[in-house]
Symmetry: C2
Subunit: 297 residues, 2 copies
């Protein structure tokens, strides 16, 4: 029986460029993905919060994943987001990923209803695991309560891991609290805990974490990849610290104004392509004043 | 040019029954819709929060709307929810409704991102109005920040009404604050303000509101329809008060335990069909103990 691999490393929560008509720009997207891999990143966590995934239809999401594969990116480098509010659409997106050879996915809990019970949250993920029913599937849970409004309690994780051994391979923890990450590292030895915030990857790695999935790596991937590769090498201590400092500075730079719009403005500079400024509502571009101040910073 | 009608009256935020495999039960749904119209309700606001709409795929939502029409329910009695997180899916659901003759829809704002700007919220609705581009379309905004996390400010409403005259016909205000409803009645004379909470319909009507879209009308529709019809008739004052008291009692009865599960348990009794107990995750049925206590109440 195939066993899913546990994701380890540094993954970019990739931005999604859109044309002026707001349709996904496949060419700009795959060019960006290739640049991210050239930065030394382990892989690409496409179609997450940073990627405006929930602003795209099921068909648009599938199209972006297929475009990345068609551009020659290996399926094992891709970690697409497949969790939406509708059980049947989460199943469809997950099955689609598997059908094109992508076996690890990042899965939001259904995020419309609030105060969801542990039972309801367990049932949501369990139904997906049952319905997809593919031993290759590796699910990375997505803990980002500031957007999803549905935190993922450790008891639910334990229940899922016990009921579906091997399927729940890790978690992206974007809540920003390292104590929560470390508690999971301790409680679940065979589980990849990935930091959702760049500065927290280093302390997490030092205590047994698996890496990170972050937005700032759209810009500073080479630095975070360096930290990942050498964090444990005393002879590189200074270089690691310098790289970590650049990561933190990059993150801070992108946090003065709206984060996703700022990242897009900076990636537009990176690729020399102003089309990158476009965003799908409800997110909006930076104003010209904000963008000028950001680029000058 | 066709002009959308402004919805006025009492609409039921209809529950959606599902089979044991959690697929939509069209037969039970249309039977329930017909019972609601027989209760004297103006129409059915299907596929809203109470209807677990966001737990269903685009195709499942379209199938439920088509089933209601196929069962003989007039399109002008139907107010489907069509607002989801993805711009292109909101457009697709809205176009589909129009394609089957249903011209008024209830539209959530995109609800994944938080702290959305007025500009981003305006753009979300404006893009839908532009892309659908059908003069028959009437959009009822859906203000339910406790679920959507995206409140709809009055300035955004004014901007939408000014930019797209006739298209934004009203709002379902489910936040439970009558002051907000009355402020809209005053500021927007040609706009249907519909209470999302049963007890607030009567005071809202008395000050110029248009009616209600509520969940408790799955059970007490005849009473709320009576209040709507006779609230202004001094000779029926006692009967109106008695009906209103039954509405409030019904609402309280369904609020002891999880509301949607409680309503389904009570509607299961109404129709003598225990299949109504099923819920799609992340929502879960009442426990047997809760259900017994609810039915005994």
């Amino acid at each position: 029986m195939a066993t899913p691999t546990k994701p380890r490393g540094v993954f970019c929560a990739a931005l999604t460029p859109v044309h002026d008509d707001l349709s996904p720009n496949h060419a700009a997207f795959t060019k960006h993905c290739q640049a991210l891999l050239n930065d030394g990143l382990t892989g690409i966590a496409l179609l997450g919060t940073t990627g405006e995934a929930n602003s795209f239809s099921t068909a648009e999401r599938q199209g972006l994943l297929e475009a990345a594969l068609k551009a020659g990116i290996a399926p094992e480098k891709l970690l697409p987001g497949t969790g939406v509010t509708a059980l049947t659409e989460t199943v469809a997106l997950t099955r689609h990923a598997l059908s094109v050879g992508v076996t690890n996915v990042v899965m939001l809990p259904p995020f419309y209803y609030k105060n969801v019970t542990d039972e309801g949250l367990f049932a949501s993920y369990a139904e997906v695991a049952e319905r997809v029913g593919d031993s290759r599937l590796g699910i990375v849970l997505y803990h980002i309560p500031q957007f999803s409004t549905v935190p993922i309690p450790h008891d639910v994780i334990e229940r899922l891991m016990t009921r579906y051994p091997g399927t729940f391979v890790g978690i992206k923890d974007s809540a920003g609290d390292i104590k929560n990450m470390l508690a999971m590292v301790e409680r679940f030895p065979d589980f990849s805990v990935l930091a959702g915030a760049d500065p927290l990857m280093l302390p997490l790695l030092q205590q047994g974490g698996a890496g990170a999935i972050t937005a700032t790596t759209n810009l500073v991937g080479a630095d975070l990849a360096f930290v990942y590769k050498h964090f444990n090498d005393p002879s590189r201590k200074d270089q690691v610290e310098a790289a970590q400092a650049r990561v933190v500075a990059g993150r801070n730079r992108a946090s003065t104004y709206a984060q996703m719009a700022s990242l897009k403005a900076l990636v537009a500079e990176r690729h020399g392509d102003q089309g990158w400024l476009n965003m799908r509502p409800p997110l909006v571009k930076l104003t010209e004043e904000e963008r000028a101040a950001l680029l000058a910073s």
